[in-house]
């Protein structure tokens, strides 16, 4: 009889791991709380660094689900889960129950609520929007306009909103925002060649392959400007434009600049689903409130509960590329576990206590 795996969360990680687990011969049930698969990717038009369409990746992921005959349950609201011996029972609100030999948690992230960064005035100043809203404009083919309906002449982009910021409780780097800012700057310039774009950054973290090339293109080809300094505050001018105040750390002086539109690059936080499922399954959380993996280097898909595994951004911010790799790694780890291989009994050279960073 086929062994059963339940995957919780139908975003990129959940979809790709489900496809791989199915290919490995398991009976896979994918539970998704919304009405369709794809997660945040559905809200993204083009992807860094290649500018390929997000929906291409969704198509790829969907095909894996179809080919693997994954049992997909949308609108799934999990109410509880119990573990007995090596068997799990997962109960849904509609009174259905699913049984499994292993659970893969792929509950992902939520975007930082920019209203919490009060001094930037999101939700108060009409011309302050988030990176997700800008992406929505691209996705729907809308014009980029100010609240007053004009084409913006100058646009500011603020990095690290809800990331690397003790004041918001998120001290980690969300990894994807710097390169998203570069990507979106180029897309703004494609649509509004005469507009000036200014990115306000703390560090440019162009860590991924081809990210640096995209950053260079933004500067050389598109004339996007980068100012090193974190906004202290945004205010509204009498004409509705937004006045930003920032220390230009390279000039060593404070700077003020009016922008017609201010875009906040909102960071990644553990999702509400991550919190809910974690509580339900007694999973451990790390200092950044993402799931704590059994080891930071070697057991990155393994949880503190036997038979429960992780993939994707529920353990920390990841790019799509990294998420897909992580999803396949999780499938492989689960396959090892279900075949009876011990997955966490290997000895490391040193037993020095690891610094509790995560």
């Amino acid at each position: 009889m086929k062994k059963k795996v339940i995957v919780i969360g139908g975003g990129i990680a959940g979809m790709e791991s489900s496809a791989h687990l199915a290919a490995l011969g398991y009976e896979v049930t994918l539970l998704e709380k919304s009405d369709k698969l794809g997660g945040h990717l559905l809200n993204w038009e083009k992807l860094f660094p290649t500018m390929r369409m997000g929906k291409d990746v969704v198509t790829f992921l969907n095909e894996g689900i179809e080919k693997g005959k994954v049992h997909v349950v949308c609108n799934a609201n999990i109410t509880s889960a119990i573990q007995k011996n090596n068997q799990f029972s997962v109960f849904l609100e509609n009174n259905t129950t699913y049984l499994a030999d292993a659970i893969l948690v792929t509950t992902g992230y939520d975007l930082f609520d920019a209203r919490r960064k009060e001094e930037y005035g999101y939700g108060i100043y009409n011309n302050v929007i988030t990176s997700a809203e800008l992406e929505g404009i691209f996705l729907n083919g809308f014009q980029i306009v100010t609240a007053e309906g004009n084409a913006p002449k100058r646009i500011g982009i603020v990095h690290c909103v809800g990331s690397r910021d003790e004041k918001t409780g998120n001290t980690y780097c969300s990894k994807v925002c710097c390169v998203t800012a570069v990507k979106q700057s180029i897309e703004i310039k494609e649509r509004l060649p005469d507009a000036e774009v200014y990115c306000f950054y703390m560090d440019m973290r162009m860590f991924g392959m081809h990210f640096e090339a995209l950053y260079r293109e933004a500067q050389e080809k598109w004339g996007v400007n980068f100012i090193r300094g974190r906004l202290s505050e945004a205010c509204e001018n009498i004409d509705g434009s937004v006045l930003v105040k920032v220390e230009d750390t390279l000039a060593g002086k404070p700077l003020k600049m009016s922008v017609d539109l201010l875009v906040l690059m909102v960071g990644i936080e553990p999702s509400a689903g991550t919190k809910q499922v974690g509580k339900m399954l007694n999973l451990q959380f790390g200092v950044n409130r993402f799931f704590k993996t059994a080891d930071q280097h070697t057991l990155t898909n393994v949880s503190n509960v036997k038979g429960v595994f992780f993939a994707g951004t529920c353990t920390g911010p990841k790019t799509i590329t990294n998420t897909i790799t992580d999803a396949r790694a999780a499938a492989s780890t689960i396959a090892n576990y279900l075949s009876g291989h011990e997955i966490d009994d290997r000895i490391m050279a040193s037993d020095i206590q690891l610094v509790a960073l995560w």
């Binding site: 209203r115 009060e118 001094e119 005035g121 999101y122 939700g123 108060i124 100043y125 009409n126 505050e233 205010c235 509204e236 001018n237 009498i238 006045l243």
Partner: protein, 356 residues
Amino acid sequence: MNIDGKIAIWKDYQKHIAADKYFYVRSCVRQNFFPGSETTFLRILREELGKDVYEHPCHTTCTGIGYHGDIVPLDTMMTVVARQFALMTEAGYENLVPSCITSFGIYTEVLDTWHHFPETEARVREYLKKATGREFKIPANIAHASDVVYKFRNEISAKAKYKLVNQHTGKPLKVVEHIGCHYSKMFPDKGIGGAEYPYVLIGMVNDWGGEIVDYPERRHCCGFGFRQYLVQANRGYSIACSHKKFESMQPYKPDMIITNCPGCPMFLDKWQYAIAEMEGKTYGENGQGIPVFTYEEVAGLILGYNPWDLGLQTHQVSCEPLLDKIGIPYNAAEKYDGVNGIKLGKPEKPAVLQCV
């Protein structure tokens, strides 16, 4: 600007303000420069609202000016604060209401320090005991005097004879609110509305008929900065702060400024004279400047108190044009009549700023 966004933030920053039995602590700056404001606060609370407000004759400065001016060391400041608490304990009160924003900041900061470093509280208790033989209880509630007026803004509104409305146009007066830095910048949770969008004065102005203008340099300090103003060599930097604010608020054509700090109304008022003399530039209408008020003065005005009882004759920028706008009567001939029939003397008219 979307007001709903602000309302959501205001909801996040509410605090408990005691309803009665206040131990009132005066401000060094205000009792000298705006004595009418503190008198008005007491009059409103006692006569209009029937509250029990106690003033102890032995209370002293909180040493905030000296502390922020690098003259008074931390332990001395904390011991003086402990003595104020002891006076309150002895008088049988537990709701502290400082008139001064910096005192409010000092008391809040001291309690926060004691909370995080209990050994400092123990040390200060020992100092106080040795020096004065006194002991104290931690206050049950600390609210700035503007918090208390905020709490009763509706009651004041209900008794008001005037509104912050231009009687000629029927439109609300445009009011700039300026919050003292030490009200909530150090401890956002201790201020009504928090630190980025403080609501304490907005609540009063809205309730009393006025309309708030939010301008880009709203959050900027008035420039007092203690040692900045106190040392003449630093005053150019001090006045530049107020100058920056005036330049930023000017396009909104505000009718008046309301403040809740000792230093701010003084500097926002008197620097208008200095800027006019230095650069020939005035703000407000007809070269008359933008009148600056304390919240008690504004409360007193709408309650129909005599402007000269409120101490408005001590302002640099004349209040009369605003009184005319609202329709508040005043007797110009009595402007410089002091209490007990002593004439205050009439100030010289400045060369540039148009004073009544």
